[in-house]
C-alpha cells in the first residue's frame, strides 16, 4: 500500500513538473493542439513527455530556460530526422523491453530497406516517415481502433498519399490501388465481415519495409496464405512461361489490388482470363473449357441435390446424414477449383468424379425421403377418408334413430 502511494506521488510529481504540457495547454490553435492530442498518446501513458522527442527541460516553468538550446531543445523535428529520432528508442531493445517485452526493435532497419526509407535517404522529404502512418502526438497502439494503422484503417491511411494523384505524380505511380482494393474479396473480408486477419496493403507489401513484391515473388507472397495454390502453380506449365514473360504469377489472372471472387467464368466464355494468351480453339483453350465444364457439372449436380434435400427437409423429413455427405460433396467442388491451378484436366477430374458420386448419393437420399413423405401423405389421406366415412355413417345412423319415434307415434304413416 505504501509502495503504491509512493508510486502515485512520484507519478503526480512527474506530471506536475511537465512545463511543456502545462504551458501549451493554455495556448491556442496550433500551439495548443500537440498538448491536447498528447493526452491520448501511448508514449504519455508510458511516462514519456514532449521533451523526450523535442528536447528542452520540462522541469522548469521558465519558457526561455525550458526551450533553450543549452538544455537540448530541438523544437520542430525536420521530416528527414523523424525515423532516426523514433529509432533512438524503438531500436533500443533494452528500453523497449522495459515497456513492451514482445515488441520488435527492427522497424528502423526495415524502414531503411523500404521505398519510403530509400527515398527519404536520397533527400526526398515528401517520402512517408513514421508519423505519416502512425500519426504524431496522438500515437496509439496498432490494436487500438482509433490508430491509423489499425487493420481496419490501414488501407485508408496508405490511400491518403497513394490515392492522391498530385502527390504520386512525381513518382509516376498509379493512384487506383485503393479504389481497386475496395472491390476485392480481401476488402470485403476486412471491412464487411470485420475479419482483421484479411490481407490489406501491409500484408503483401510489408509495413515498415514497404515495397512492391517483385514479379518473381508474387506467388510466394500470395502463397503465405494460399499455400496449395502456390504449390500447384510452381509445378504448373505456367510458372516457367510467366517467369520468362516477366509476368507476376497469380496477378496475371487474378490482378493484384482488385482481386475478385474467382469463378468458372474465368476459365471459359466471354469473361475468360485464359483468352488473354490462349485462343479458344487452341489446346490451352480446350483444357480451360474442359476444366470449366467439369466444375460446372459438379456444381450443377450439387445444386440439384441441395434442392431436393431442401424440399425433403421442408417436408419434415430427417436427412441429416445426406446433409453431412453434401458438405463433403461441396468440399470436392472446392478442391476441384483449387486443382485448376495445376492446369491439367486430370487434376480437376479426380475431385469432380468423387463429388459426382456424392451428389448422386445425396440426390438418391433426397428422392427416397420425398417418396417416404408421399407414402406418409397417402397413408394420412386414407386414414382421413376412413374417419370421414365413419363420421358420416355415424351421422346418418343418428338421424335414422331420430326418425324412429315419429314412426312409433304414427304407425299408419297418416
Amino acid at each position: 500500500m505504501r509502495k503504491l502511494l509512493l508510486l502515485a506521488l512520484a507519478g503526480a510529481a512527474a506530471w506536475a513538473a511537465d512545463s511543456c504540457v502545462d504551458c501549451h495547454s493554455k495556448l491556442e490553435g496550433a500551439q495548443q493542439a500537440p498538448a491536447t492530442a498528447f493526452t491520448a498518446d501511448i508514449h504519455r501513458r508510458a511516462g514519456f513527455s514532449c521533451a523526450d522527442c523535442h528536447g528542452g527541460d520540462r522541469s522548469t516553468s521558465d519558457m526561455d530556460a525550458s526551450m533553450s538550446k543549452a538544455r537540448g531543445f530541438r523544437g520542430k523535428i525536420a521530416r528527414k530526422d523523424v525515423p532516426q529520432l523514433c529509432a533512438r528508442c524503438h531500436s533500443d531493445a533494452n528500453l523497449i523491453h522495459k515497456h513492451k517485452p514482445q515488441q520488435r526493435v527492427d522497424q528502423y532497419a526495415q524502414y531503411q530497406t523500404s521505398v519510403h526509407g530509400k527515398k527519404l535517404a536520397a533527400g526526398d522529404t515528401a517520402a512517408a516517415n513514421c508519423v505519416d502512418c502512425h500519426s504524431v502526438h496522438d500515437i496509439r497502439e496498432v490494436k487500438n481502433a482509433l490508430s491509423p494503422v489499425h487493420p481496419l484503417r490501414l488501407p485508408e491511411t496508405c490511400a491518403r498519399c497513394h490515392a492522391d494523384a498530385a502527390k504520386m505524380a512525381k513518382y509516376k505511380l498509379d493512384t487506383h490501388q485503393f479504389e481497386q482494393y475496395r472491390k476485392s474479396v480481401h476488402w470485403e473480408a476486412l471491412a464487411k465481415r470485420g475479419d482483421l486477419s484479411a490481407p490489406s496493403c501491409a500484408s503483401c507489401h510489408g509495413n515498415h519495409g514497404a515495397a512492391p513484391p517483385q514479379v518473381s515473388s508474387v506467388a510466394a507472397v500470395c502463397g503465405t496464405c494460399h499455400v496449395l495454390f502456390e504449390d500447384l502453380y510452381k509445378k504448373s506449365p505456367h510458372q516457367p512461361v510467366f517467369a520468362a514473360m516477366g509476368a507476376g504469377g497469380c496477378v496475371v489472372c487474378h490482378e493484384n489490388h482488385g482481386i475478385v471472387k474467382p469463378s468458372t467464368e474465368m476459365l471459359a466464355g466471354a469473361r475468360s482470363v485464359c483468352v488473354q494468351c490462349h485462343d479458344a480453339a487452341s489446346a490451352g483453350g480446350a483444357t480451360a473449357a474442359k476444366m470449366a465444364e467439369q466444375i460446372g457439372k459438379l456444381s450443377a449436380a450439387l445444386d440439384k441435390s441441395d434442392g431436393i434435400l431442401r424440399r425433403a427437409r421442408e417436408s419434415g423429413m430427417e436427412i441429416s446424414e445426406a446433409q453431412l455427405k453434401q458438405i463433403e460433396g461441396r468440399e470436392n467442388l472446392i478442391k476441384s477449383r483449387v486443382a485448376v491451378h495445376a492446369f491439367q484436366v486430370a487434376a480437376v477430374e479426380k475431385p469432380v468424379n468423387d463429388g459426382m458420386v456424392i451428389a448422386g448419393e445425396t440426390w438418391k437420399a433426397g428422392e427416397n425421403a420425398l417418396k417416404e413423405r408421399d407414402w406418409r401423405r397417402v397413408g394420412l389421406a386414407a386414414a382421413l377418408v376412413t374417419i370421414l366415412v365413419t363420421m358420416t355413417g355415424l351421422g346418418l345412423a343418428i338421424r335414422s334413430i331420430e326418425r324412429r319415434p315419429e314412426a312409433v307415434d304414427n304407425p299408419t304413416g297418416r
Binding site: 473480408a189 465481415r193 475479419d195 486477419s197 484479411a198 496464405c225 494460399h226 499455400v227 496449395l228 495454390f229 504449390d231 427437409r313 421442408e314 417436408s315 419434415g316 436427412i319 441429416s320 446424414e321 446433409q323 453431412l324 458438405i327 463433403e328 461441396r330 468440399e331 472446392i334 478442391k335 483449387v338 406418409r376 401423405r377 394420412l380 389421406a381 382421413l384 374417419i387 370421414l388 363420421m391 351421422g395 343418428i398 331420430e402
Partner: protein, 143 residues
C-alpha cells in the same frame, strides 16, 4: 319442450361434427405444406465410447446435421471443435503427424486450441465442451 331439446342436440351434434372435421383436416393440411423452419439446434451428442478413440487421434462425429471433430490429444485430454473450416466450410481433420487440425481444401492449419496457425482460415474453430460420462464421450455446445 321435446322439440326444443331435439333441436339443441342436433345443433350440438352438427357443431361437434364440423369441429371434428376441421380438427382432422387442419393438421393434415399443415402436414402437406409445413412451415419452413430451421433445423432444430442440437446441443449435445454422444460421440462414442472412450475405448473407440486411441490417444493422439481424431474422429469426425455427427453433431446434428453438421460435422464435429473430436480429438483425443492424450489419455485424458479431449478436445472438440466444429469440423467446419472458417475459410470456405470444408471439413477439417486431425493430423496425427503434426498434432494439428488441418483443412485439406486450402492447406489451412489450426492448433489444438482451434486457433489459426497458417493458411487462409480467418477465424478460430468453434469449440465444443467434451465430458466423459462413465465410458461414454459426450460433446456439447458451450454455454
Amino acid at each position: 319442450m321435446a322439440e326444443e331439446r331435439r333441436t339443441l342436440v342436433r345443433w350440438l351434434l352438427g357443431g361437434g361434427f364440423s369441429a371434428s372435421v376441421v380438427s382432422f383436416l387442419y393438421p393434415a393440411i399443415r402436414f402437406m405444406s409445413p412451415p419452413a423452419v430451421p433445423d432444430a439446434a442440437v446441443n449435445e451428442v454422444s460421440a462414442g465410447r472412450v475405448q473407440d478413440f486411441k490417444p493422439n487421434s481424431g474422429k469426425i462425429v455427427k453433431f446434428g446435421s453438421r460435422p464435429a471433430l473430436l480429438i483425443r490429444a492424450g489419455d485424458s485430454e479431449w478436445r472438440a471443435y466444429s469440423a467446419i473450416c472458417t475459410h470456405l466450410n470444408c471439413t477439417v481433420q486431425f493430423q496425427e503427424s503434426s498434432h494439428q487440425i488441418w483443412c485439406a481444401c486450402h492447406n489451412g492449419f489450426y492448433d489444438l486450441n482451434g486457433k489459426v496457425v497458417s493458411g487462409p482460415p480467418p477465424n478460430p474453430l468453434e469449440e465444443y465442451a467434451v465430458r466423459v460420462r462413465g465410458d461414454e464421450v459426450v460433446i456439447s455446445r458451450r454455454a
